[in-house]
C-alpha cells in the first residue's frame, strides 16, 4: 500500500477498499524499516497522524464530503510552521520550537483531508544542495546510502522515493525541490512565484522562495499543487489572479509544441550519462511531433553569481529575526548585543553563517551597488532574455542537475563546488517561472537522472503537459531496493 500513487490510493479510499488508518499504518511500517538508513524525517507525529486518519475514516463512514487529499499520508519540510509540532528548519537555533500556528499550505492540506505524517529533514534554513547541512545529521539517498539525496529538501524527496509518504512538500529557492527530486528519482515541481502562499514558511530569500510538491507521478504532483495553490491575503506576494487549470491538457502530448534546448545548460561539468539521457529524451519528444530547436540565454552563464549575491543578501535580512528574543536558543550575555552575537554564533551552522556574512557584506555601505544592486540588474537582463526566448519556444528543457547523486562529504569542504550543483535550476527562481523535474532513467551506477521542463510565468499548463509526455516516454518505473515491500 505504501507503493500506491495518490491517485490510486484516493480511489481505493473513496470506494472503501482501503481505510486511511490502514494506509497510514502501511507507510509508517515502511518508514520504520527505512529510517535507520535514510533519516528523511526530523519528526514523525504518530499521534497526530493517527487522529487525522481516524477522522478521515469517520468522514467516509458518515458520508461527508471528501477533500482532494482525503486520507492521503503526506509530509512537509521542517521549515513549514506546524501548530504545536516541532519546527526546527534543521537548525540548533530553533531546536524545540513549537509554532503557535500552521503555515497556509499546511492548513490547506489539513482542510483537504490529508494526513500529516511528519516533518522532513533539510539543509539548515534550506541552505544547501545535499541535506548535509542539517544540524541533526544528513539524509541519505534511497538508491545508495553512501550518496546524498540532494537538497535542501532532501528529506521530502527521499521519503517519497521509498514510500514513507505518498507525497511531500518542500521549498525551492535555487533548486531545493527539483534537484533532490532528480537525485532521488521522483517528480519535483516549483510553481510560478506567488501561486502558493508562503505564509508560515520560514523565509530564506523572499524574492526567490517558492513552495512546491514532490510525488511519484506528474498527475500526483498536479493534485498536490491544486490542494494548496491560490491567493492568500496573509502573504503579500501571493498572486491574486486565477491559478492555471492544468488538468485538461495533461494527456495531450507534445505534438506541435515548440521545445527549446538551452545551450548554456550542458557541456563541461555535465556527466556524460546525464547528457546522453537528456538528448535521448529530446529525440523522443521530436519523434512525438515536438518542434525542437536550440536556444541561447547568455545570462544563464552568470545566473549562479547573481544568485549567490541575491540569496545571501536576502537571507542575512530574513535571519536577523533569530536573535534569542522571541523564540529558539538564547545564550546569555551582559548586554543585548552580546547575547544576540553569542546566540547566533552558537545557533547557526557553518553554511548559514557563511551566507549571512556574504549577504551582510553585499548589502553593506560602499558595496551595495557593486554587488547586490548590480546582481538585481543582471537579474532583470535574465528575465528579459527568458521572455524573448519564450516567444520562440513554449517550453525549455535541460538536465535538472549536471550530475547524479554524489557521495556524502564530496563537496562539503568546497562551497563553490556545492553551489554549482544548482546551475540548471537557479534561472527559474531568478525569473519567478515554473519548472519541474521528471525522472527519466538510471545511470550505470543505478542512480536516477532528472529531466527539467521550464515554462514562462503562469505557464504551468504547457509545463505539465510536456512533463506528462516526458513521463510517459521515459516509462520510469524502477524503485529503490529499500522500497520493496513490505
Amino acid at each position: 500500500m505504501a507503493d500506491l500513487t495518490i491517485e490510486a490510493a484516493g480511489s481505493a479510499l473513496a470506494k472503501g477498499e482501503l481505510s486511511a488508518t490502514e494506509l497510514l499504518e502501511s507507510v509508517l511500517t515502511r518508514a520504520s524499516l527505512t529510517e535507520a538508513d535514510l533519516h528523511s524525517f526530523l519528526t514523525i507525529d504518530h499521534e497526530g497522524a493517527m487522529a487525522a486518519a481516524t477522522g478521515s475514516d469517520e468522514r467516509l463512514r458518515r458520508g461527508e464530503p471528501r477533500g482532494l487529499l482525503e486520507g492521503i499520508p503526506l509530509a512537509v519540510k521542517d521549515n513549514f510552521c506546524t501548530r504545536h509540532l516541532e519546527t526546527t528548519c534543521g537548525s540548533q537555533i530553533l531546536a524545540g520550537y513549537l509554532p503557535p500556528y500552521d503555515a497556509t499550505a499546511v492548513a490547506r492540506l489539513r482542510d483537504a483531508g490529508a494526513v500529516l505524517v511528519g516533518k522532513t529533514n533539510c539543509d539548515e534554513f534550506a541552505m544547501g544542495s545535499s541535506t548535509e547541512n542539517s544540524a541533526f545529521g544528513p539524509t541519505r539517498n534511497p538508491w545508495n546510502p553512501e550518496r546524498v539525496p540532494g537538497g535542501s529538501s532532501g528529506g521530502s524527496a527521499a521519503a517519497v522515493a521509498v514510500g514513507s509518504v505518498l507525497g511531500a512538500f518542500g521549498s525551492d529557492t535555487g533548486g531545493s525541490i527539483r534537484q533532490p527530486a532528480a537525485l532521488c528519482g521522483v517528480v519535483g515541481f516549483k510553481p510560478t512565484y506567488g501561486l502558493i502562499s508562503r505564509y508560515g514558511l520560514v523565509a530564506f530569500a523572499s524574492s526567490l522562495d517558492q513552495i512546491g510538491p514532490f510525488a511519484r507521478t506528474v498527475a500526483d504532483a498536479v493534485t498536490l499543487f491544486e490542494a494548496v495553490a491560490g491567493y492568500d491575503p496573509l502573504d503579500a506576494t501571493s498572486y491574486q489572479g486565477l491559478v492555471p487549470n492544468v488538468r485538461p491538457t495533461l494527456g495531450e502530448g507534445v505534438s506541435g509544441l515548440r521545445v527549446g534546448i538551452v545551450r548554456e545548460l550542458g557541456g563541461e561539468g555535465y556527466d556524460a550519462e546525464v547528457a546522453a539521457a537528456t538528448s535521448a529524451m529530446v529525440d523522443k519528444l521530436a519523434d512525438e511531433g515536438a518542434k525542437v530547436s536550440e536556444v541561447s540565454l547568455p545570462s544563464f552563464e552568470v545566473a549562479l553569481s547573481v544568485y549567490y549575491l541575491i540569496a545571501p543578501a536576502e537571507c542575512s535580512a530574513n535571519l536577523a529575526r533569530f536573535d534569542g528574543v522571541r523564540y529558539g536558543l538564547r545564550v546569555p550575555g551582559e548586554t543585548v548585543e552580546e547575547m544576540m552575537a553569542r546566540t547566533r554564533a552558537e545557533g547557526f551552522g557553518p553554511e548559514v553563517t557563511r551566507r549571512i556574512l556574504l549577504g551582510t557584506y553585499a548589502l553593506s555601505a560602499g558595496y551595495y551597488d557593486a554587488f547586490y544592486g548590480k546582481a538585481q540588474k543582471v537579474r532583470s537582463l535574465l528575465i528579459a532574455e527568458m521572455a524573448t526566448v519564450f516567444e520562440q519556444a513554449d517550453v525549455l528543457v535541460s538536465p535538472t542537475s549536471p550530475t547524479t547523486a554524489f557521495e556524502l562529504g564530496a563537496k562539503t569542504q568546497d562551497p563553490l563546488a556545492m553551489y554549482l550543483s544548482d546551475v540548471c535550476t537557479i534561472p527559474a527562481n531568478l525569473a519567478g517561472t515554473p519548472a519541474i523535474s521528471v525522472p527519466i532513467g538510471l545511470d550505470s551506477g543505478g542512480l536516477p537522472i532528472g529531466f527539467q521542463v521550464m515554462a514562462p510565468a503562469l505557464g504551468e499548463k504547457v509545463m505539465f503537459q510536456t512533463a506528462a509526455a516526458v513521463e510517459a516516454l521515459a516509462d520510469f518505473d524502477a524503485r529503490p531496493a529499500m522500497a520493496v515491500s513490505p
Binding site: 510560478t192 545570462s299 552568470v302 534569542g324 529558539g328 557584506y361 532583470s380 537582463l381
Partner: protein, 95 residues
C-alpha cells in the same frame, strides 16, 4: 583575485560573535566566493533597472479588516525569557 573584506566589521554588523580563527576561515572562503560572484560586474546592464519583483507585480492591496491575531500567551510560551506580558532581554545600553 579573491576579494579582501573586513570580516570583523561584517561579523559585527551581522551580530555573529565569531572567534579569531573562525573569522579568518570565513574571510578566506568569502573572498573566493565573491571573486566568482564579481563576474556580474562584467555584464553590460545598460538600460536595465534592478528587479523589484520577478513578475513585475507592485502594490498589492487587501481589505483592511480586523481579524484575530496570535494568542499572546502562546507566542510568549515559545520565548526564552518573558515576564508573562513582555519579552525580557539584557540591557540594551551600558551604565
Amino acid at each position: 583575485m579573491p576579494v579582501d573584506i573586513d570580516i570583523a566589521y561584517v561579523a559585527r554588523l551581522a551580530r555573529l560573535g565569531l572567534s579569531a580563527e573562525e573569522l579568518a576561515f570565513y574571510r578566506d572562503q568569502l573572498g573566493v566566493i565573491l571573486e566568482h560572484a564579481a563576474k556580474v560586474q562584467e555584464v553590460d546592464t545598460e538600460g536595465f533597472e534592478a528587479t523589484a519583483h520577478p513578475l513585475g507585480i507592485v502594490n498589492q492591496f487587501r481589505p483592511d479588516e480586523i481579524r484575530p491575531s496570535l494568542d499572546r500567551g502562546e507566542v510568549l510560551a515559545a520565548a526564552p525569557a518573558t515576564d508573562g506580558v513582555y519579552f525580557v532581554v539584557p540591557p540594551a545600553l551600558e551604565g
